[in-house]
Symmetry: C2
Amino acid sequence: MLKNKDLDENTEMRIKSVCRKALEWIMPSEEERARTLEFTRLLLESLKRELSKDNVNAEVQIEGSIAKDTWLAGEKDIDIFVLLPQEYGRDYFQKVLEAAKRVSEGNYLEAYAEHPYIEAYIDGFTVNFVPCFMVKNPAEAKSSVDRTPFHTQYVKNRLNEPLKNEIRLLKAFMHGIGVYGAEIKVGGFSGYLCELLVLYYGSFIRVLEAASRWRRGEVIDIEEHYKSPEEARRAFRNEPLIVVDPVDRNRNVASAVRINRLSEFILASRLFLKNPDIKFFKPQVIEPYSSEKLLKVMNERGSTLIFVKTGAIRAVPDILWGQLFKSQRAILNLLRQFDFDIIRSDVWSDEKETNVFVFEVSSRLLPPIKRHVGPPIDKISNCEDFLKKHLESKWILSGPRIEEDRLIIERRRRYIDVVELLRDKLAQGGGRKIGVASLVAKAFSENLEILANEEILPFYLSNNNFARFLTEYLIGRPKWLI
Amino acid sequence: MLKNKDLDENTEMRIKSVCRKALEWIMPSEEERARTLEFTRLLLESLKRELSKDNVNAEVQIEGSIAKDTWLAGEKDIDIFVLLPQEYGRDYFQKVLEAAKRVSEGNYLEAYAEHPYIEAYIDGFTVNFVPCFMVKNPAEAKSSVDRTPFHTQYVKNRLNEPLKNEIRLLKAFMHGIGVYGAEIKVGGFSGYLCELLVLYYGSFIRVLEAASRWRRGEVIDIEEHYKSPEEARRAFRNEPLIVVDPVDRNRNVASAVRINRLSEFILASRLFLKNPDIKFFKPQVIEPYSSEKLLKVMNERGSTLIFVKTGAIRAVPDILWGQLFKSQRAILNLLRQFDFDIIRSDVWSDEKETNVFVFEVSSRLLPPIKRHVGPPIDKISNCEDFLKKHLESKWILSGPRIEEDRLIIERRRRYIDVVELLRDKLAQGGGRKIGVASLVAKAFSENLEILANEEILPFYLSNNNFARFLTEYLIGRPKWLI
């Protein structure tokens, strides 16, 4: 670790000690390293063999953290890319997938992100077999996987042994605080992004020091593809963090990073530098509340927790979480539109059987009366329409009258009970109309439970993972702040 | 009435017929006119006599609608101005007041607006004796009363018999829809303003037609004191209606007109022209709801009506209402600050014994939980303070955590009951601290009742005037819209 002037000596000592402790369990042992590399080599060979049987002339390469020797102890993800000549058509992808399936001996899923790929489970490893095109430079990439080999090459060319551990520390820190991973569920920092940050700033601690001072729209442009941060910001408008891909100026490596995760990383960086602690790397495990405690905590809040629970949605995690988040936003809009005051919301999924949306509202019931602001007096025909509509309406409670320069009425609400509103709008395929994503709307029409407060108890007691989620929700504090 | 192209013949006929009916009861009879003028003449003479006894050498003049012969039948207000030479000091005002008191034979109030004056009650008339300075031109006026004689002169010079009735129609219309009067309680159109509007537009109906199309910031500059409406708007910034005083370019005759009253006049003008009806001149009398009906209507709304009731406040009406409105705004701010959702508010006063503020809120109680949005993550020291304050706070229910780029917590509310909040903040002289006006705060500290919903019933049943007010509040619709 590099010496730093910002930190006093005592804090620096403590940081070093915490990092040393962390490294002890995040550095793969010699044994793990040897086993992993040997396993990878064997895989590579058997895949090459299968490909040559089919006369597929391709380059087979290891990518990801195994290729760069930056993986964390216990990580079991192996990425194997098959680079096909560009002359080959897309039909060759299928040949690669077939070869991969044979190597996987039946234990695999056929998945699809931008590209088809095979996710296989072999000897405790998760192996991704990814066909892609071999392009001359990253600008020719037809999809992001074509760019991956360039990323690997870029990082490998600049790495040295000490840097590898700095990268491991950053990844482990991000993992510990819950911001690691570019998948939709997390919306955090990819491994490649961690590697670039360490290469750019020089060490784990320097990344944290820099991040402590990051502002929204921070630009990191390692290869100086842009003349100025402003120019880069114009190219990547509104992205909270901009890390220009060294191998492709048109890509933001941090485009998956959501503002929440970025802010959490910034705050955690500050707090760690001030008060280094192993908990940032190894968060404590939260034990779910007992049912008595759960009810007591809910009762103290005095809000209403609404659980919208549905059954299985068959989709890969990125699709599933994309649909869940989109549906969550749609339902939040619905609740706001009907004046329910939202305290918070969250989504839980086991990615298999059950999905639960949580909507916490101030109150399950609203008063029957609703103040409704009409047009300003100088919109003559709007005023006429408003008067015509409301003067005889059976929904009216008071008015119309004038306040300031507007027509106002008080009328009866259409929905006073949030549960009734949700049931009416989500059941029987109605979800689509209010913007719920297709697969979720389908799930709702097959299986929809709307539970309020303690009605969640049976499921809470039956599912420990959900119980932990709900307990953490109620604590509502990142573990590194506990 | 002048012929008009905008209206179809049928509507024009109906307007004429309604106006004819209205004039029948708003034009003073020959007998009333003779009696009023004779009474005024006698008053004038006896005041002159008293002044000469004291060697006060002053011009005594009738002002107001009696002077201009524009008063409405049954109006019993006589304005007598005593114009003192400018050489005289302010002590001469006292001599005028003393003379007026002698004329009033004991039945008077000594009042003070900008100026001291005597309000006397003689033979069923309300007579204002107002001392002022005789200035050469209105720009030299030391207070608005010095300008009044010029207003009277300006209007008298331009009046003719038909115009007098047009003015009477406009005044009666404005009175009927509740926008007549420049006093604070009303915030509407003064008699002088009505006269100017008729002089400018030519007739009652033409005023209504013009008003139907008025926009916020409308400029009427009869003597073309300003080069353009824009110039006038720059001089009278943000005033909703600008009628440049013909005798003083620096005065807006409509400065007392509040946006509510202006909007009501505009809308009523449009509706009258479309569907002329005597109800605009003679609004129906609303009978108070029975107590059963009152409770039923309140219950249907489902809101909470909070009545803040206090005792006598000794002040002339303009001061009283100024203080009441200021206090109402302060209390509304308090309620908003503590997150109570306000449906509507109003103030009632008998101007003697009792004052009642009405605050209608969605719900008397709020849930214990409150979402509290903290600083954005890039305000480093604010974040530190926020964490320090809340990490150990006993008020915390959840958090701190991050949402988007901000720290968020959920905490217990300090007040969940609006009645408790108001009692705490208004009792024992606390009102001043939250911005309640001085006399009202004093009244609260002597006598404060905070009543919710049906708790108002005893007072409602004991005071017919208040009962009518509350009934009209609940209907919440101008009488010309009923």
